[in-house]
Structure formats: structure tokens, C-alpha cells
């Protein structure tokens, strides 16, 4: 454990130097061929049905994640974007160990963590923390802010003295811009932006190195969003954090992200450095997504209009999951699932059209 931390520290300067194309360093988090499905069929007895005089067992699943491979490098902010139901929040929760994967592996700092017991996972839990979407729901209404912030420290550092815990809480409250004298107040006494600061403080309280943020600013007003984003960027610089940032807001991604993974129906369709993705989106879905951002400059831009709606993740389409709405789909797209292939500028795209040079 201590060895791992010192190893991390030795690599810190390289990451802090903002070396974005540093592929050689081992990634902090590796997600390998991850699948997650949720059963819709209830318990065993509910799955039993009579069909043609025979007793059969039938099961239906929501296929939330269908085989994704993502590396998260030290010091970067990897943004995962996609529309609702594409599985981005499931990725966040699976990575954190809040859900166990149906198939696939998750490695953290070289160690496989997805099959560990809660007790074995505890040291990793200190190093990875999570910020949730809704600050009105993620703070316990019956705990004061002091209690909320002390809880994770006490859990992860049972040997710390009362004074040391209190100092740590003061420091972390200071660092997110909440007056340390407000510790005796309850969550409902704060505004949405302040609550989200407290939620960030709770994540930072145990000095983590990796933070998963699931739509941390979606519930906030525009002027408050800027405050919270600034705070998260400051924390990243000061503490050399690595982020997995889940969002649907592409303007935020463009500003905040080092790399972006675009998800559709449980699959990664494109993953690229932020600049590359916004300058030169390859996947037809990414192109449609980018053209749909309401921008200030233009009066009425021409959106790329997609046909139809996102199919249900219960019955996945064959072939490329996007083929039903894709204007460039052909027979191969309807049959064969595209794999992520490397294209130039560090981008990886899962599209037959790009692979064949049609697009």
C-alpha cells in the first residue's frame, strides 16, 4: 500500500507537467472488456413460465455496458459523454465497485480490483472517491457538515487523533471555499452550489488520487457551474488528481476534459484527445452529437438530424449499435460489430465506415 503510494508520488511530476501524450506510463485505471447487465425478470420463481405444456425458464436483461475497454491515465480528466441510457453512469458505478461487472476486469494501479471483497477493497476506496449528481440527495440530512466530512476520515484512518481529524476537516473545507466555522450546520442550510462543494470536500477529505464525478454540475445553475468546475480544476492541479468525469454536457467536456470517450448504447464509439475530437469528430454519432450543441454564435445552424430514437438496451441491435440511426450504414454495419481501431492523432473509433475509408 505504502509502496504503491510512493510509486505514485514518483510519477507525479511527469503528470503535473501536463504531458498529455504520455502513452508509455502505465494507466492508473484499466477497464478491460467490461460487461454489465441487469436482470428484468425478478427472482427464480418469477422466471419460470409455461410454454407449450413445458416449464421453461425465461430471463430478460438490460444490457447496460457491452464490452468496453478504457484506460485512464494518471493526471488526466477522462470525460465520458453520451445520452441518457447509454451506460455512462453504470461505468462510473462499476469502476467504483458499487456494482460488480457481469464480465470483464477492472485494474487499478496494476491490481485487479473487481473481484475483491469489501474488506480487501477498503484501501482502494481511500484512493478513489466519488462525487454524485444531486447534492440535495447525496448529503445525509441528519448529519452536520462536520460529521459528514469526518466520517470518511475516521473510516479510513481509525488511528488518527481527534485533533488531527478536525484539522483535516478544516483544511479540506477551506480548500473548497466553505467557511470551516459552518461545520455545525446541516446540509439543508446550504445552497445547491455550496452543497456540491461539501460533496467535493467529502471526496477530498481522505486525499484520494482518483475521483469519479457523475454529472457533478448538471443540477446547478450556470453561474454556479462555473464555480464548481473551477474548484474541480484547482483541486486537480493542487492534488494531482485523476478524474473520470461523466457528463452529457459537451461544452463542459471541451473545457474540462483531457480525453473524451463517447458512448452509445453501452459501447464506446469514439475515444480521443479533447482537441482532436472537437476539431475532427470521426464517428457519425459524435458528429451528430457535436452539431446539436446550442452555441451562442450562430443563429440557426444546420443540425445533423438523426433518424429515430435510441433503441432499447433490452434487445440490442445486431452489428453496430448505431446502425439504425446512422445515415451511412450499410450491410456490414447491420451484421458485424465494429471494434475500436486506431486512427491518427491518438483517436480510436469504432466504425466500419471510418475503417473502410468511406467516411
Amino acid at each position: 500500500m505504502t509502496a504503491a503510494v510512493s510509486q505514485h508520488d514518483s510519477k507525479a511530476p511527469a503528470a503535473a507537467a501536463g504531458n498529455r501524450e504520455n502513452d508509455t506510463a502505465a494507466p492508473l485505471m484499466e477497464i478491460r472488456n467490461l460487461y454489465k447487465r441487469f436482470s428484468l425478470s425478478g427472482d427464480f420463481l418469477e422466471q419460470l413460465k409455461f410454454r407449450g405444456g413445458k416449464l421453461v425458464r425465461e430471463q430478460e436483461h438490460v444490457h447496460a455496458i457491452n464490452g468496453i475497454d478504457i484506460d485512464i491515465r494518471r493526471g488526466e480528466a477522462l470525460c465520458v459523454v453520451g445520452e441518457s441510457g447509454c451506460g455512462k453512469s453504470t461505468v462510473a458505478r462499476t469502476v467504483m465497485g458499487l456494482l460488480s461487472p457481469s464480465k470483464g476486469e477492472i485494474h487499478y494501479d496494476g491490481q485487479r480490483i473487481d473481484h475483491l471483497s469489501a474488506k480487501e477493497l477498503l484501501p482502494y476506496r481511500r484512493r478513489m472517491q466519488m462525487i454524485f449528481q444531486n447534492p440535495y440527495a447525496s448529503l445525509n440530512p441528519r448529519m452536520t457538515i462536520q460529521q459528514t466530512l469526518e466520517e470518511p476520515i475516521r473510516l479510513h484512518h481509525p488511528d488518527w487523533s481527534k485533533e488531527r481529524v478536525r484539522d483535516q476537516v478544516r483544511d479540506v473545507m477551506d480548500s473548497v471555499g466553505i467557511d470551516p466555522d459552518w461545520g455545525s450546520r446541516f446540509g439543508h442550510e446550504f445552497s445547491g452550489g455550496q452543497r456540491q462543494r461539501i460533496a467535493i470536500a467529502r471526496a477530498l477529505a481522505v486525499d484520494p488520487e482518483f475521483i469519479v464525478a457523475d454529472e457533478p454540475i448538471s443540477a446547478l445553475d450556470v453561474s454556479i457551474q462555473a464555480q464548481v468546475l473551477n474548484l474541480m480544476m484547482e483541486a486537480q492541479q493542487q492534488r494531482n488528481l485523476t478524474y473520470l468525469f461523466i457528463t452529457h454536457d459537451l461544452a463542459v467536456v471541451e473545457h474540462f476534459g483531457t480525453r473524451v470517450a463517447v458512448m452509445y448504447l453501452g459501447m464506446v464509439c469514439e475515444i480521443a484527445p479533447t482537441g482532436t475530437l472537437f476539431a475532427k469528430p470521426r464517428h457519425p454519432y459524435t458528429q451528430a452529437l457535436l452539431s446539436a450543441i446550442p452555441r451562442l454564435e450562430d443563429d440557426r445552424p444546420q443540425h445533423i438530424r438523426l433518424q429515430g430514437e435510441v433503441p432499447t438496451p433490452v434487445n440490442l441491435p445486431t452489428g453496430c449499435v448505431f446502425h439504425g440511426r446512422c445515415p451511412h450504414a450499410n450491410e456490414r454495419c447491420r451484421q458485424e460489430v465494429p471494434a475500436l481501431i486506431d486512427v491518427e492523432d491518438g483517436a480510436r473509433v469504432a466504425c466500419h465506415g471510418v475503417e473502410e475509408g468511406r467516411l
Binding site: V222, S223, H248, H255, P294
Partner: protein
């Protein structure tokens, strides 16, 4: 005279600790076929402004003063009976959450027929025919089957299309849309906004669009109001406000958008948060967060702290700000001296 005229609208909520003034001195007009945006953060009063147009404010809220004139008729003191002729018929509303606004126990067709029959003496068959026509207009695939489906069988985007179809059922003069796309995904949002825009243009319907998204406002509307703490602080042509905002709050709001900053740099945040309406700061409600509150000598302007700013005309826009008023006065003095 404009189709809809709102003058000095004053809406209060009678609470135990005294009245809370949710809207003060709100004035705007809307012409046939015109599109007006109302922007502001949560709690600024934009939804109250929309709801009060049709007197839809629930108790303990009430309209304490001002006038709402629609097509020559005064709406603010009107009895429910009179309002029912106008609500849904000549002014219709689209609400934010498409999951909440459709009745889950009635099929789409029943809800549409019900709405038509409430306003017109027609047979069910005719009403269904009109409903079908409207569903076609909002480009719903296989509209005949949709009529007999229930809301839960449709996706969010589909439901919002149905709601737009219902809003258009009686060929209204004005549609008031309260955050119509906030609950939807970006690609669906773009489709729904395009659709709403096309239909409004085609049928010459006026649109009041309430949103917190400056991008949407700038793409859809011709004029806009910016609201803060129950007041309009800036209004004028959308393009001019977006390109050259005068009020420090509008400037802050636009500059805080990630798309206005170079990627990775610090965003220009507005410090603090919006005050509660029951405990407004004295003078200009924005002064504790305003970066222009100090005058040339570095002291806070007395007017900002004591006096609620009135509107000054600055170009085609009207701005409620003491600093802008000073600048405008200065310019007028300068130009007068030049002519002398």
C-alpha cells in the same frame, strides 16, 4: 398595439413571515409570430412570469398589481370562466417535464379529444381527425397507432412531441414554453427545438420561451429578457444582448459559459449565489456579487447600495443598472457638448 402586453406585473406569495415578492415591475410585449426568450437562474422568477400570464399561480401566490393585456382584454383580474376561453385555446403552455404533464391513465387520443371538446362543439370523430392531423404535423411516426397508446409507451422525445401537438391543437396565438427541452438529451433537444421553431413560423404563433440555456435562447428567439431575483434586469434584441451584454450580471452569465473560455483555463465565475427573495439585499439586488459596484474612486456607488435601479435605454436594449445609467448619461452629456 401588441398582441400581449405585460405592464408592471407584480406577483407576491403570502407567506407566514409576510409577502415575498416573486416578480416586480415586469414589462414586456409580444407580437403575433414573435419569439421572446426569458432567461435566468433558478429562483429568478421566470416560471412565475410565465404562469402568471394565464393566472396559473397557485395559492398563496397572487397577482398584486400590474396588467396583462391580451388582444385588448385584461387577464390579470379575470374570473376563471373567462380565462378558460383563453387558456389552452388562444394561449397554450408546454411544461418542462414530459413525464409529468401527460395523464398516465388516458390514451394520447383521449387526452387530445378531451382538450378539443372542452373548447369546441365537435364530434369525437372530428376531434380524432384533428388530433391525427396535429400528430402528423409534429412528425410522429405512425400517428394512428399513437392515438391509442398510453404515455408510458412513448419515449421522452415522443412525449414532448405529443405535448407540442396538444399545445397546437386549437391553433393558439401564443405558446408559452417553460423549459421545454431541459429534461431531454442534446440530440433530441435539437430536434424538438427545430420542430417548435418551424411550427411557430409556419402558423405565425408567438412563442414565449423560458429557459436557463443561453445557447437555446440565442438560436431560437428574437428578443430576450434577463431576470434576476424577480426583476427584469436587461431586455432587448437577443443578438445584441448576446453579442454585447450591458448589465454586469448578463456579462457574468455569458462569460461563465465554458464555450467562452479557452479549454483548460479558469472559467470567469460570478462570486456568490442568487439571494433568497425573502431576504433581498438593499438597492440593486445584484450589488453584493457585482464586480462593477465600485465607481472610479474605488468606493462602492451609493446608488447601488441604496436605490433600486430603474431602466435606462442603451441602444436598442433596456438595462436596469446604475453603472450603465452613468455611462449613458455621460455619453449624452458628451454628445450634447459636441453639438453645442
Amino acid at each position: 398595439m401588441a398582441l400581449l402586453e405585460v405592464n408592471n406585473l407584480d406577483v407576491r406569495f403570502a407567506l407566514r413571515g409576510g409577502d415575498v415578492r416573486a416578480l416586480r415591475d415586469v414589462c414586456f410585449t409580444l407580437d403575433r409570430g414573435e419569439r421572446l426568450g426569458i432567461v435566468g437562474e433558478s429562483g429568478a422568477g421566470k416560471s412565475v412570469a410565465a404562469f402568471s400570464l394565464l393566472n396559473l399561480i397557485a395559492k398563496p401566490g397572487y397577482i398584486a398589481g400590474g396588467s396583462i393585456t391580451f388582444d385588448g382584454e385584461e387577464l390579470s383580474g379575470m374570473k376563471d370562466r373567462g380565462l378558460r376561453r383563453i387558456r389552452g385555446n388562444r394561449i397554450s403552455m408546454i411544461f418542462q417535464d414530459p413525464m409529468m404533464t401527460l395523464n398516465p391513465v388516458l390514451s394520447i387520443g383521449e387526452q387530445m379529444v378531451e382538450c378539443l371538446k372542452a373548447h369546441r362543439r365537435i364530434s369525437t370523430r372530428e376531434a380524432r381527425a384533428i388530433s391525427l392531423h396535429k400528430l402528423n404535423q409534429v412528425q410522429i411516426p405512425s400517428p394512428e397507432t399513437r392515438l391509442d397508446q398510453y404515455p408510458h409507451e412513448l419515449s421522452g422525445g415522443m412525449r414532448q412531441r405529443v405535448i407540442i401537438a396538444i399545445a397546437l391543437l386549437l391553433d393558439p396565438d401564443i405558446i408559452v414554453a417553460d423549459e421545454p427541452t431541459t429534461a431531454l438529451d442534446v440530440t433530441i433537444q435539437a430536434e424538438i427545438m427545430d420542430l417548435l421553431l418551424d411550427l411557430c413560423e409556419k402558423h405565425n404563433v408567438g412563442l414565449v420561451l423560458i429557459t436557463h440555456d443561453l445557447g437555446v435562447v440565442s438560436q431560437v428567439t428574437q428578443r430576450m429578457l434577463v431576470m434576476y431575483a424577480g426583476r427584469v434586469i436587461e431586455q432587448g434584441p437577443t443578438r445584441e444582448i448576446i453579442n454585447d451584454p450591458q448589465h454586469p450580471y448578463t456579462q457574468g452569465l455569458i462569460n461563465a459559459l465554458p464555450q467562452m473560455a479557452t479549454p483548460g483555463s479558469r472559467l470567469n465565475q460570478i462570486p456568490g449565489s442568487m439571494p433568497s427573495l425573502s431576504n433581498l439585499p438593499s438597492g440593486c439586488a445584484f450589488h453584493p456579487r457585482c464586480s462593477f459596484v465600485n465607481d472610479a474612486s474605488g468606493q462602492p456607488r451609493k446608488a447601488c447600495l441604496d436605490k433600486v435601479p430603474g431602466f435606462v435605454d442603451s441602444g436598442n436594449c433596456r438595462v436596469a443598472c446604475h453603472m450603465v445609467a452613468e455611462l449613458v448619461n455621460q455619453q449624452q452629456r458628451d454628445s450634447r457638448e459636441e453639438t453645442l
